[in-house]
């Protein structure tokens, strides 16, 4: 079973979701100036979407910095995105961008902190995902 790498801003929304999963995880620094960690095992990335009207800047900077390291990028197996349907087509856009850039599947989307149903879906989904593919 791989790990989870996630980004959560000072709003702590994504952090709360990941904590509810109760699985091993690595949090990326909130501050874009800090050095991102280097991972050495397969992981699924969980990240929120930040969006302007054109979707620019949808992926948080510390996530970009982390994925710019080829060693980290080599271990990404999937992505899970948080968002809000109120942002229209940009809902969970960060997940689409990372999925396309890293050629990994977008595994799941949830809104804001996620509901209990989302937590169950992701927990069970990840279990199956890791046993099936690795």
């Amino acid at each position: 079973m791989g790990t989870i790498v996630y980004y959560s801003s000072s709003s702590e929304n994504t952090h709360r979701f990941v904590k509810k999963l109760g699985l091993a995880s690595v949090r990326l620094p909130v501050d874009a100036g800090s050095e991102p960690p280097v991972v050495d095992e397969p992981f699924v990335l969980v990240l929120p979407t930040y969006s302007g009207s054109d979707g620019k800047g949808a992926v948080p900077k510390p996530v970009i910095k982390f994925l710019n390291n080829p060693a980290n990028r080599g271990f990404i197996r999937g992505v899970i995105a948080a968002g809000n349907t109120n942002f229209g087509a940009a809902y969970g856009e960060a997940g689409n961008i990372v999925s396309a850039k890293c050629a990994v599947p977008l595994l799941y989307r949830f809104e804001m902190l996620g509901t209990e149903e989302d937590v169950t879906n992701v927990k069970q989904g990840l279990e199956r995902f890791w046993t099936r593919s690795h």
Binding site: S10, A89, Y108, L113
Partner: protein, 331 residues
């Protein structure tokens, strides 16, 4: 002599100094982040070609037109409160000068929203029909009760309860109204009006997120007892608002047979309002089954099944074109 000295002391008190805002010294990064997001989202109703909806408006039945004007008048009332009272009261409680500046942007955009409904009216509707709806808004007990419940909190002394009221207004109370333009849009009616409403929805979502974030920063410093007291207040208040909102919904939508569908949308958004405050969802999933057409009018790809885990969804496409590039990416 002594008296004169006291007066002098009052005058030299450093507390009375007025400080200039410095955006290059930020205490809370969220202030700048949200300021940038709100200012980059700035829009005016003149930018939306509302007049293209004139033929579509004419296809609505008289009772559908009446419902639409009433719904928009109800929304105007809420925007008026946020513009003139809600955001302004929150400014008094701001912890940083930047928070105060963000709230001033929020206040102004609420005025833009309120003004937008008048643009819709002047483009599509007859003046006597609109006047009727404004009269209705002053007389409708549920709309007035909703406004009163919110105003009570804004007039109260508790900064946290004011934030709760603001988030519930922004993230929950608007949605009995937002449902209708999404419904028309899903039936290819009033699509330009729906585009304008979507701009409003995006703004309100950032407002709810930001005020909810500030609320959470403040309660994390409190005792467990006080935290619980505020949480109890928030859930009680939500249920009180919901009770009234359900009746407001029936009053408006029963005539077109949509009340139950609107309520699903209300539950879904009430949960999101609670999440903005950092609380767990209250309404169970089966009460939040929003009509797929409404959800897709809100977010065009929201009903696409991205549940890769269950294997039931549409398969993803690797390497599809990316609409948004960021110069920071190295690969």
């Amino acid at each position: 002599m002594t008296k004169g000295k006291t007066v002098m002391n009052v005058h030299v008190k450093p507390l009375s100094r007025v400080r200039a805002i410095n955006w290059n010294r930020i205490q809370d990064d969220k202030d700048l982040e949200v300021w940038n997001r709100l200012t980059s989202n700035f829009w005016l109703p003149e930018k939306v070609p509302l007049s293209n909806d004139i033929p579509s408006w004419a296809t609505l039945k008289p009772e559908e037109q009446k419902l639409t004007i009433r719904v928009f008048t109800g929304l105007t009332l809420l925007d008026t409160i946020q513009n003139g009272v809600g955001a302004v009261r929150l400014m008094n409680d701001a912890q940083t000068p930047h928070e105060e500046a963000v709230l001033s942007n929020i206040s102004f955009m609420e005025a833009v929203h309120a003004r937008s409904y008048s643009s819709i009216f002047s483009t599509l509707c007859l003046t006597p029909d609109v006047d009727d709806a404004y009269r209705w808004s002053e007389e409708n007990e549920f709309l007035q009760h909703k406004a009163r419940l919110i105003m009570e909190q804004y007039d109260g002394a508790d900064p946290l309860k004011k934030k709760v009221a603001s988030v519930f207004l922004e993230s929950f109370l608007f949605y009995s109204g937002f449902y209708l333009p999404m419904y028309w849009s899903s039936r290819a009616k009033l699509t330009n009006t729906a585009d304008l409403i979507r701009l409003i929805i995006k703004d309100e979502s950032v407002h709810g997120y930001y005020v909810g974030y500030k609320f959470q920063r403040e309660i994390e410093r409190l005792s467990e007892e006080r935290k619980q007291e505020i949480k109890d207040f928030a859930f009680d208040f939500l249920l009180e608002l919901y009770d009234n909102e359900a009746r407001y919904t029936e009053d408006l939508y029963d005539s077109v047979g949509l009340a139950e569908d609107v309520k699903m949308f209300l539950h879904y958004n009430a949960n999101k309002a609670l999440m903005n405050l950092g609380y767990e969802a209250l309404f169970p999933p089966e009460a939040c089954k929003v009509n797929a057409a409404i959800l897709s009018a809100l977010s065009p790809n929201a009903d696409e099944n991205h549940d890769f885990f269950s294997g039931s969804g549409s398969s993803y496409v690797i390497g599809k074109a990316i609409a948004t590039e960021d110069e920071d990416w190295d690969f």
